[in-house]
């Protein structure tokens, strides 16, 4: 049992001993979360749930979550120490994002005591995987423009809600348990004032889940169609029409992503081979280890890893010292998006013509830099586009004037949602 006043280094030592004794080496699917097919994915899911349970039973789940909800009530520095010790070991990657952050982080801030008591311990035990139901077919970055509607059932005198609409880009919703869902409860108020957040069970009648096939062939992203889904008022989070108060913090926790102090995942620079084939392996396979231009690319990719790691630490230091505002997380989001783009391009460049076609042995050896290049921009789209991050940095970090918009201070039902017709 970890004492509530344990120092960071003492905690680190305890974590190291426990991790070494209880967690095996990292698996390929821990990092990229890509499985060959659904059957393998479901095996990975079951194994992630069991791993989270093992961490929970070992006394290391929810390091920054309050003790009353089954966490340890320790500081971000403790979580970081655990994450550093986790490098090279298996971990329940499917819980990291979005279950712990933003979903559990939002639950913790805005959930009712009953909602927290029901869901946070369940998450920490590995029983509940959460997704965020934010983007809609009509809009990704303009999150507050949600048109999924929630109306009071109004019959039999009860205060249930009926939900209709569609959410999209929801990773792994086809097997996940719960979603945080942003819905419109009032169309007569301006955009940001008529939203409400609900807790939605995914696997229930009225929620139809489709898979979206990406250009690589993988299908982890989903689209949900909600048709007259009836849920009790106890699943409403926060005030009716007060959803955007939650939404802004939700966005913050989303931008924090893996940096969030609620997330357990390895952080470090071990360069361990278990993290998958890197640029060096690609350069070797291409026979370019004595080519100075190739070595410069290898060094550049590694330098970007080191800078990424350093920037994460700086953002955490800024938050703990009170020097940064919460919008500073957009800086990290932009940097990491652009760094990934560059790294994918480097890998592609190093691979040469072999990136065009490959057999399975080669893929096991050096990955698929060609396919990764095709999917390159995902790091600048998923989790909020880098364009939105640039707006946030310019307007909220640097204090530059806001963009003009066509949807402020008018009832949402009058906001143009497409080109004028006729």
């Amino acid at each position: 049992m970890i004492a509530p006043d344990i120092g960071v280094e003492e905690f680190r030592a305890a974590a190291r001993a426990w991790i070494k004794a209880n967690l095996g080496p990292i698996q390929p699917w821990d990092i990229d979360q890509e499985c060959a097919d659904d059957a393998e994915e479901l095996v990975a899911v079951a194994r992630d749930r069991a791993l989270q349970r093992r961490i929970h039973d070992g006394g290391f789940a929810g390091i920054c979550f309050p003790r009353e909800y089954g966490g340890l009530g320790l500081s971000p520095a403790h979580q970081r120490a655990f994450n550093e010790e986790l490098v090279g070991h298996e971990f329940p990657s499917r819980f990291a994002v979005p279950t712990f952050s933003p979903c559990a982080a939002v639950l913790l801030e805005y959930g009712s005591p009953e909602q927290k008591a029901r869901h946070i311990p369940a998450i920490l035990k590995g029983d509940e995987v959460w997704v965020q139901m934010l983007s809609e077919p009509g809009g990704g970055s303009d999150v507050a423009g949600a048109t999924t509607s929630a109306v009071r059932a109004g019959d039999c005198g009860d205060d249930d809600w009926i939900i209709n609409g569609s959410k999209v880009w929801t990773s792994r919703a086809w097997w996940a348990d719960w979603g945080l869902c942003l819905a419109r409860t009032n169309w007569n108020l301006p955009k940001h004032q008529g939203l409400t957040v609900f807790l939605l069970k995914l696997q229930q009648p009225g929620v139809e889940i489709h898979r979206i096939e990406r250009l690589t062939g993988e299908t982890e992203a989903c689209q949900e169609f909600m048709t007259d889904v009836r849920i009790p008022d106890s699943l409403r989070m926060g005030e009716v029409d007060g959803g955007w108060t939650i939404g802004t913090r939700w966005m913050f926790h989303e931008r924090m992503g893996s940096n969030s102090p609620y997330v357990t995942r390895p952080v470090g620079l071990s360069g361990a081979a278990a993290e998958g084939p890197g640029p060096l392996a690609i350069a070797r396979r291409a026979g370019r280890l004595d080519d100075p231009a190739a070595l410069e690319l290898v060094g550049e990719a590694r330098a970007l890893d080191i800078v990424t790691h350093a920037l994460r630490k700086r953002m955490i230091d800024a938050a703990t010292s009170g020097a940064g505002n919460s919008d500073g997380s957009a800086i990290d989001r932009l940097f990491v998006g652009m760094a990934h783009v560059r790294q994918k391009t480097i890998a592609f460049e190093l691979a040469g013509s072999e990136a065009a076609a490959w057999d399975e042995d080669e893929a096991a050896q050096v990955g698929t830099p060609g396919m990764d290049f095709l999917m390159r921009q995902v790091s600048c789209i998923g989790g909020g586009t880098t364009e939105i991050s640039r707006n946030v940095i310019a307007e909220r970090v640097l204090g530059m004037p806001r963009e003009p918009s066509g949807d402020r201070n008018i009832p949402f039902r009058d906001v143009p949602r497409g080109p004028a017709r006729g």
Partner: protein, 375 residues
């Protein structure tokens, strides 16, 4: 720079900041120091050195020491202020030479003069891990050493009393501390990009030195040189980050002041997004520069690699950021009257010293290959 400094460190940094503002403000550099053959006043340098400028990387037992006990971190704080003020003076080479002497032992008089600011030193980096063909060779002749070759650019060689000479010998690198007026040394001034920093080509035609000139072991200096390059990278990056901060701040300010088509520049999304990109480079440069100093202070196994990553990243983004600041200013940004060029010069010159980004990337790749073999 760090978000969590101790009050001693803040005082140390702020004292230097005030001193630089007072004595080497940009107006003074623009009008006076520009025409000074040395680019700085030796009396001013001595007063500055008394604030602790050259002590941080030198072990306490050798007469050095730092306010926090974390030498590279404290030295980086001073370097940052040098960059933010585009200050003159042979800050990096004096620190690196003092650190080399302090760790190797011997040369007490020279070290004391560097620590006290009574003399300055230049570093002739005539061999480096990324060089296949060294510029300088050092061989033994009986108990003497013979130096031959030419190295450039060497900062402040014309003002230096000593030169730390790094050259290739059979079996490894050698370092010697050489009086700048030793027979056979030719110091030729070069024209350079910085307003106040002077660079030279230094030629050695069979310069003969006694055994006492040795710093460390003959042909055994590879590790010491790597460490010095990492330390220099930390200081050059911290300087560059200071200069980037100054350039970015004045450009952001300009965007609010300057109106065009009836609106502030700051209101254009095309420019806002550029500023956001610059801000992300700036924060990342702070982060990796600090991380490199911390890794040296902690004696981390990743110290050399982190310093190279910083030199590669900041060396790349520093000039790119400063050039974009010029672009955002328009024509005024390339006038001598404006302050911006001082910072553009600083980041551009710093990019080139002690290894370019390309050279440091190759170093990182070499480290990765070595690590892989060891695993």
């Amino acid at each position: 720079m760090w978000h969590n400094l101790g009050s001693d460190q803040e005082l140390f940094r702020d004292t230097t900041a005030r001193f630089l503002e007072q004595h080497v403000g940009l107006a003074h550099q623009r009008k006076v120091l520009r025409h000074d053959p040395a680019g700085f006043d030796p009396g001013w340098w001595k007063s500055g050195a008394e604030l602790g400028w050259t002590m941080c990387l030198v072990p306490e037992a050798a007469g050095g020491g730092s306010v926090s006990g974390r030498g590279p971190t404290d030295a980086a704080l001073i370097a940052y202020e040098f960059g933010r003020h585009a200050a003159p003076g042979p800050f990096v080479d004096c620190n690196i030479t003092a650190a080399a002497l302090g760790r190797a032992g011997g040369h007490e008089a020279a070290l004391a003069a560097l620590l006290g600011g009574e003399a300055v030193a230049g570093h002739c980096l005539g061999a480096a891990p990324w060089r296949r063909d060294p510029a300088i060779e050092i061989r033994r002749d009986g108990s003497d050493f013979i130096i031959s070759g030419e190295v450039r650019p060497v900062e402040s060689a014309g003002q230096a009393r000593w030169l730390l000479v790094t050259g290739a010998s059979a079996g490894g690198m050698t370092q010697l501390l050489v009086p700048a007026d030793a027979p056979g040394i030719a110091i030729r001034p070069l024209k350079g990009m910085d307003v106040t920093r002077r660079f030279f080509a230094v030629g050695f035609s069979g310069v003969r030195l006694p055994a006492a000139a040795l710093v460390g072991g003959f042909a055994r200096a590879d590790e010491a040189v790597s460490r010095q390059i990492a330390e220099a990278a930390v200081l050059l990056c911290a300087e560059a980050v200071g200069a980037m901060d100054a350039a970015f701040a004045m450009t952001l300010d300009y965007a609010f002041q300057r109106y065009t088509f009836g609106r502030a520049l700051a209101s254009y999304q095309a420019l806002k997004h550029r500023f956001a990109d610059l801000k992300s480079w700036l924060e990342a440069s702070h982060a990796v520069s600090d991380a490199a100093a911390d890794a040296l202070a902690d004696d981390s196994p990743l110290a050399i690699e982190t310093a190279s990553a910083a030199k590669a990243y900041v060396g790349d983004k520093g000039p790119e950021l400063a050039q974009d600041c010029v672009q955002l200013h328009g024509g005024i940004g390339v006038t001598y009257e404006h302050d911006l060029h001082f910072f553009l010069r600083r980041v551009t010159v710093n990019r080139l010293l002690y290894g370019t980004p390309a050279e440091h990337r190759r170093l990182i790749a070499a480290i990765r290959l070595r690590e892989e073999k060891a695993a």
